[in-house]
């Protein structure tokens, strides 16, 4: 009959109304500032930059590739690339952002920056008490404010962080293996070259292997050596700009 649904609905709300007075477990509300519930693991609000180790500047994973800046739908990321390089956490020489700003008043928490970052350098934070009295400057976070340690990442998103770490370790192992293979190949070449061209006597050939490995050690250092002049000023430079 017409109107039956309305009566049923009214009965349902009346039951809830009365029920909320008699049974406390109906009330799911928490008295927030005094009482808190731990955020669920998938919570996210604004991005932060992950760094490895102790020093946020040295350990910053971001290599200023600017992919996130291009992909961010509301364009709230602003990056300035460095002109020099500094070693990243793996010891590889990389450029780094001398400026990395996110305007969280514009950010819409879409997580696209996280999805596109090839270096696992930017992740979503769970910090939500970000109110400030300065609605422009206070909500524009610079790279120092954005940097949070990998431990923090592990604390807020344990599963995800473990996955990321495993992936990074895998990548590192792979790149190490590749480097090793490359060095081995280079060593073989180096070993073969003197052997064929100089046609040295057999004691010399046995000697060649350590010599080649020494040479390899040299080449291993060489990339570092190449840029070594610049990184020395790099951090200082960055500091002055920050």
């Amino acid at each position: 009959m017409l109107g039956e649904g309305i009566l049923k609905g009214l009965a349902e709300t009346a039951r809830n109304f009365a029920g909320s007075f008699v049974s406390a477990e109906r009330l799911t509300t928490v008295q927030y500032p005094e009482q808190r519930i731990a955020p669920i693991e998938a919570t996210r609000d604004f991005p932060f930059l992950v760094y490895d180790g102790k020093d946020w500047e040295a350990g910053m994973r971001c290599v200023a590739c600017q992919i996130c800046e291009k992909e961010c739908p509301p364009k709230c990321i602003y990056i300035v690339k460095s002109t020099d390089k500094k070693p990243d956490a793996l010891g590889k020489m990389q450029i780094y952002p001398t400026r990395f700003d996110i305007d969280i008043s514009v950010c819409m928490s879409c997580q696209i920056c996280v999805e596109v970052c090839p270096f696992e350098a930017i992740k979503m934070d769970t910090e939500f008490e970000l109110s400030t009295t300065d609605r422009f400057g206070g909500l524009l976070l610079d790279r120092k404010q954005l940097s949070k340690s990998n431990e923090h990442y592990h604390r807020i998103h344990p599963t995800e962080a473990a996955e990321v770490d495993a992936r990074l370790a895998g990548e590192k192992a792979k790149s190490d293996a590749k480097a090793k293979a490359a060095t081995a190949a280079a060593a073989a070449k180096a070993a073969a070259a003197p052997a064929s061209s100089a046609a040295a006597p057999s004691p010399a050939a046995t000697d060649a292997a350590p010599a080649a490995s020494a040479a390899l050690a040299e080449t291993d250092v060489a990339p570092g050596g190449n840029g070594a002049g610049n990184p020395a000023v790099g951090p200082a430079d960055g500091e002055s700009r920050a």
């Binding site: 009959m1 017409l2 309305i6 009214l10 349902e12 709300t13 809830n16 109304f17 909320s20």
Partner: protein, 391 residues
């Protein structure tokens, strides 16, 4: 003593006025009553807002406001201070004069309606012979205020909200009037005091309220529906449907002007509940003859707050209607029922006392309701929704 408690406000007024020279006394008496009404109802508004927020919270298994004062009772004061300190923004392209006037016109016309409501024995500001007519004239002017607000804002959402409001209010104004006409037919008077007097009789301890008659019950239900629509309350809150129109006609209002709209909305709710109480629920008369010693104004305000509670309950229950559903409901269902109700009221009047009129009148109304309801429901298809896409 009981007499005194019942007439306390009237006596107080006479006593206060008696200090003035005789020539000034009538004017002063009226002014005093006006001041009381203008202070009392906003206070009631604060209470109703608190009740609404608490009640809705409880319906949704929340606590509602509980920070400001005990049980959040001071929340309305905090809200008032907030809206007073907020910036009052007028859009650059708005019609400033009309934009300013709209909330004022709304609140003033709504207040005017209270003038004819008998809030207790001998407690009516202006006992007009055509009180009901005056009330409806004032009630209809609120539509003007709503449209002024929507039009002057120069905002498409405001305008859309105002258009909806006007369409809705005019449609339901008809229903509101026709459902009240039955009362006028039976009482034979447009004076609200006379209407209350006519209901203030008891047989076997039970009152002769109009709601306890077949035509009165049907009329009350239709009056309640129309009143909900008139005051733009959920489920008829299309004019300010937040999900589609930002805030409807008061989108461009901020600060105290917005608070005035808010106040106007609640005052309209009070006054229309007050009128419903007067017309169908026996106004200030007691629900049982042995409760006659309780002051009449207590009954009036209890009934008023009870209606407010029902408004809140409905808001917590029903989803918003669609515009076409709203219009169809008004013109195709409620209006025919209203017209039929007029006929039934006539029958009731001329069939004399005795039980046959109860049976006949109830049967006609129930059959019509069930029949029309069945007709309406038959055309509805429930179940999985089918979508049509453009080719």
């Amino acid at each position: 003593m009981i007499e005194k408690a019942d007439q306390i406000f009237v006596l107080l007024q006479h006593w206060l006025v008696s200090f003035l020279p005789a020539g000034l006394q009538p004017v002063a008496g009226v002014l005093l009553s006006v001041v009381v009404i203008v202070c009392l109802f906003p206070a009631l508004f604060a209470l109703a807002v608190w009740m609404e927020r608490k009640g809705l919270g409880r319906i949704q298994n929340r606590l509602g406001p509980n920070r400001v004062g005990p049980f959040g009772l001071l929340q309305p004061i905090a809200d008032g201070i907030k809206s007073l300190t907020k910036e009052d923004i007028v859009p650059r392209s708005a019609d400033a004069a009309v934009h300013f006037l709209a909330p004022v016109v709304l609140v003033v016309t709504v207040f005017m309606g209270f003038a004819v409501l008998p809030m207790g024995r001998n407690m009516v500001l202006a006992d007009m012979d055509a009180g009901l007519l005056f009330y409806f004239a004032m009630g209809a002017s609120t539509e003007l205020a709503v449209f002024m607000a929507g039009w002057s804002s120069r905002n498409k959402y405001s305008l859309l909200g105002a258009m909806r409001a006007v369409a809705q209010m005019i449609s339901y104004e008809v229903v509101l009037l026709l459902s009240s006409v039955a009362v006028v037919m039976i009482t034979g008077s447009l004076s609200l005091t006379k209407i209350v007097e006519a209901q203030n009789h008891y047989s076997w301890g039970l009152p002769h309220w109009y709601i306890f008659t077949p035509w009165g019950c049907a009329g009350f239900v239709m009056y309640a529906i129309a009143a909900t629509a008139e005051t733009n309350r959920s489920p008829f809150d299309l004019p300010e449907g937040e999900s589609e129109l930002v805030a409807g006609y008061h989108t461009e209002y901020s600060g105290f002007k917005f608070a005035l709209f808010f106040l106007g909305e609640y005052l309209a709710m009070f006054s229309i509940s007050g009128l419903g109480t007067t017309l169908f629920l026996g106004g200030w008369s007691a629900p049982f003859s042995w409760l006659g010693w309780v002051p009449s104004w207590i009954w009036f305000f209890s009934k008023l707050m009870l209606s407010i509670f029902v408004f809140i309950w409905m808001r917590g229950t029903l989803p918003r209607l669609r515009q076409d559903q709203l219009m169809n409901f008004a013109w195709k269902f409620v209006l025919p029922m209203c017209l039929l109700n007029l006929l039934v009221a006539g029958l009731w009047r001329f069939m004399g006392d005795g039980w046959p009129r109860w049976v006949v009148c109830s049967a006609i109304l129930v059959l019509a309701y069930v029949g029309m309801g069945w007709g309406e429901m038959r055309r509805k298809h429930f179940g999985a929704r089918s979508y049509r896409y453009a080719e």
